[in-house]
Amino acid sequence: MDISRRIRRFFFPSLNKKYFLRLLFLGLSCYLIFSYLLIPLRIQGMSMDPTYRNGSFAFCWRPRYLFSQIKRFDIVTVRFSGRSVMLLKRVIALPGDIVEFREGLLYLNGKLIDEPYVQHRSLWNLSPRTVAAGHVYVVGDNRGTSMSRHHFGQVTIQRIIGGVLP
């Protein structure tokens, strides 16, 4: 088969049973992959700025924590009642850790933590608190807003849907 015929067949395949089966398989695969494994995310809001900017795109990689544990400073997706609207946050503390903010700086178990990903910082003050078992403490990278306007805190691990790509 010459090359031009191959190209023509690639772009204009004959509409036979095999073609429709392939199309159905492709559609189903896309549905399963992009609904359950690699969920596309459109970032809305400045909570994770500058790591993820408003209007940018990313993916939620659901199998991320299937065989591994959540680590400190991982970026995770936190669900509400489903997977259509999710929060993108950074895990800053694990169960048993003591979290504290002093003048906008993060202290973990009494030690000052260097956070190179934070570029906007307000003078947050939060008294020390211990993360409960089965929970992780999540915060956005944009600390430029006031504490009252920022969704953060400890959240049960069951609410973590997966990691974020890229």
Binding site: G45, F80, S81, G82, V85, L126, F152, G153, V155, T156
Partner: protein
């Protein structure tokens, strides 16, 4: 071939009937969408339009309606007048805001009562700055004279500072 066509036709008719026939779940979802529409405020929305929308939103709720928002220290019953007053105030403080409900799961724990969980998403502009917010709600409804009315709203605070 004729048999296959007949099966396909029956399936199409069944699907059409299913989608067209009204049922409780559909009515609840419609009420939720209407509530979101009435609470949303278009840019430069006329005051009269706002008042009309707020009245329609209150009509979807039972009188009184319980509202609980722990983070704002709100936990009480709101009469229809309270509701319209608060909704009007909200519209004034949050002009150009779009409400929408997502991931709604409806259950019917008893006859003529329903409970649902849903995510309320807010998007809009305040002083030329784009903002988004989301809240998970636990909502109860009661069927009164054939209409599903919202009887309580409570925000699920799953993040504890």
């Amino acid at each position: 071939m004729n048999k296959k066509l007949a099966i396909l036709l029956i399936l199409c008719i069944a699907a059409t009937v299913y989608f067209l026939l009204p049922n409780d779940e559909k009515q609840i979802r419609n009420n939720l969408d209407s509530l979101a529409k009435y609470c949303s405020t278009a840019r430069e929305e006329a005051a009269l339009v706002g008042i009309k929308k707020v009245a329609l939103a209150a009509k979807l709720c039972q009188d009184p309606c319980d509202i609980e928002i722990e983070s704002r220290s709100i936990a009480r019953s709101f009469t229809k007048k309270d509701l319209t007053d608060h909704l009007l105030m909200m519209k004034r403080t949050m002009p150009d805001t779009h409400f929408s409900f997502h991931d709604t799961v409806i259950e019917f724990p008893a006859e003529n009562s329903a409970s649902l969980t849903s995510t309320l998403s807010l998007t809009g502009q305040i002083e030329d700055e784009h903002y988004t917010d989301a809240y998970e709600f636990d909502i109860n409804l009661k069927k009164i004279d054939g209409d599903w009315l919202f009887s309580s709203f409570s925000v699920i605070e799953f993040m504890e500072q």
